[in-house]
Amino acid sequence: MRRILENGFALFTRFTVLALLCGSANWASAAELQVPAVVEAGRGFSISVDGSGQATFYLVGPDHLVKRTVSLGGDLQIQSSDVRAAGRYQIIVCGSSCTSATFEVKAAQPAHLSFFLHPSRVPVSSPDSIDASAFVFDQYFNLVLTPAAVNFRITPASGTGFSRQVMTRRGVAWMRLNSTPHEGRVQVTAVLGNVEEARVIQQVAAEACGLRMKTVASGNRVTLETDPVRDCSGNTLPDGTIVSFTKIDKLGKSTVDTPIKKGIARVQFSLHGRVQISVACGVVLGNEVALNGGL
């Protein structure tokens, strides 16, 4: 048994050595590689490969792979199209043995901004209510990790605009800002060099402020009508906003929800004896009125 195994092993070894010899028959001496540590994306360069004869050259990158036969002892040209994706690349040169080296491809100059503005609608005069985030990419859509200054230019529909500069960190610039006091569209533009990306958000009136109603009695009926419903900055609340009128009389409590139309909410109640009526819009309470009905 031992002899069988010994013979088997000898045969195996013979095949292996033969295979290795066949594989390396045309190859020359080992290569020494000299590659740059860092390269900019999309920029070709050359590497120096020592040795003589022919070898197989491999370039293994994040999105690309090159395999070709090269002659040792000169410079090897790496094409710009071979190094477009940022990341770590590996060069392997195999002659009689394999030699390898790695280098890093870094993003090129900023060329694209991916810009997010949140939310799409925001109440006026709300602190830290708007978030702007910008991701900086180069022309090959590599994230640009080198710090860069992104300007966020804020242009409200009315009032003066302003801008804020934020440095990117790991390719991202973000900031929070307050909404301005006036309703309407606000354009926020992220600017980096010649690259601009604009987004628009809608500023809407905030909660009602100083909510008041007046009464017009007519027999056993009363019409209740609010003053124009505005927020504390004077912006009219949008039509459709619900205003609640609550009546308490001897029959109990009843509430009528009615939408604002043309800035005003209006409702009609029938009166039964002494009545107390209040008005509210969202979390804001308005005035109360007390009336005496005919029945």
Partner: protein, 175 residues
Amino acid sequence: MKSLAAVTLGLFVIAACVLAIAQSSAPIQLPQVHLDAEGLVPRPIEQLTGTTVAHHYALAWRDLAVALESGRTDALGEEFVGFAHDRLTRRIGEQEQAGLHVRIVDHGHNLKAVFYSSDGTAMQLLDQAQLEIQTFDGDKLLNTQNAPHEYIVLMTPGADRWYIRDLEEVSAKSF
């Protein structure tokens, strides 16, 4: 006697091949992913989100390892989208054409979430991965890399998962 030796060798080779096939066809374990989200800005991460992100990141690396070794772009699964998917698909296709394959022995990932947008639509993470990467041309081992690898990752949420939209290997200085 020589023929018996050859048969013995043949059996040994077949056994080795079966073992290799069994190993390659066995379901690959998910790599370990540890997510650190402390100090995340501008918004903190919810626990469930963190668990989901780590799980799908592990799935992505498992699928990537299978795709790189098998040369099958469909093995990439659904975890990669956008630039990340396009780049890996191209790479695997070219790798297959050139007759190369890459084996990744994944010893785990330390993920650190560094940016999570307020609206929850994007998360940036840094990954310190312990990987052993072997590059083969056919059966010939060309190279083994056994150093730590650092990646910068951009993930975005979908209906039921987090996708990898960008995956770039960077130098440790970026951390």
